[in-house]
Symmetry: C2
Subunit: 243 residues, 2 copies
Amino acid sequence: MSRIRMDLSYDGSAYHGWQIQENARTVQGTVQKALKELFEQEISLSGCSRTDAGVHAKHFVCHFDTSRTFPWEKLPLALNARLPEDIAVFRATPVSPSFHARFSCQGKSYHYRLINCRIRDPFEKDRAAFWPVPLCAQTMHLAAQDFVGEHDFSAFMATGSQVKDTVRTIFSFSVNRSGDCIDFVVSGNGFLYNMVRIMVGTLIYENLGKLDRSISEIIRSCDRTLAGITVPPQGLYLEQVFY
Amino acid sequence: MSRIRMDLSYDGSAYHGWQIQENARTVQGTVQKALKELFEQEISLSGCSRTDAGVHAKHFVCHFDTSRTFPWEKLPLALNARLPEDIAVFRATPVSPSFHARFSCQGKSYHYRLINCRIRDPFEKDRAAFWPVPLCAQTMHLAAQDFVGEHDFSAFMATGSQVKDTVRTIFSFSVNRSGDCIDFVVSGNGFLYNMVRIMVGTLIYENLGKLDRSISEIIRSCDRTLAGITVPPQGLYLEQVFY
């Protein structure tokens, strides 16, 4: 039995997220189908995280176990030939059986792209969120520093989420403007459900003077209703996974 | 009666080109529908050129005549609110009745994007063509200089095209690599049907040593069968229109 780590990227626009579901097109389901075609046996993938419908991954990691032998360095091309154009496997390597895509993960970084100008860009449809009211990236960058460190982030978790331990560590959070695009880049040891999208929505609301409390106070409150909106999924990219 | 010039951009992936057609979704049809909703009268647009299914426009120009008055500088936002996200009008201005989007046009430039690496990029689906065999941009740039000048380009016109005057002037043609992307940028006083896509396909074939003649000889032959392939539409962008 070998354990194979596979690194891939995907445009999530046409998928209901990574995680396999009945009656919905998912990235996991699509890749498992291609593996089954290639190996003529069922392969079950374990992913580094779930991603939501419409969310993208520049770098996603998963693993699977198989008794098959294969020239693994050739798996990306063999599999890409069987995958739709919006998913690409770029690496496959045998790893120790102790490696686990999710449990071995030490941290992740996410990138959120927001187009901030009066007229939207047709080429950013499904690739970025659009916000026509002017925002100041520099002010948001300063405010974002309040997220850095170890905190209970339950105010920044989608309501209804079942997670018990809501303490996470944010390593860094930068906000920069490049032309009409504002790039939010955040890395941390883990993220709660919708946490990045709520943090970005809170920075926007803070920038527009729509919040009653400072970000530090909202963190301490553990109250989701005090934070900002959940920004739409199409701006979000899983950028890196650290092991 | 006023004549209004409208400048727009669109991602052509979901459209059967610019030109209105029965039973097919086109950019012209979509914009005319939005204008009709806004003005409650039929508006007929004249475009600067036809674009093929799947071809994009960073900058497309059209005009229309209307007896309506309107604060024209506000038309882009009013119209964009009624248009799908893959089309954006960015300017509308009253012009002289002698202006004609097609006949006043002095030239155009096109950009062709080719991803040239082993593993495709999911985020370039519908935005670029993919060519995994290594190509040399510098060699193609040198070869492309043979296109510059006034020539009969009938060897570079889709067969079946009805145009009589097949003489065009190419002002410039550059080929540059930027990371995995090769950018072909060509400007000229006009282009025959599929001409840019056949010129790019011919540069690729020349680079791979697949042609029996030099590009100058193929131009002189006026024989389509001697030129290279027609590369796919999704890499092509109408970049600028000169008046």
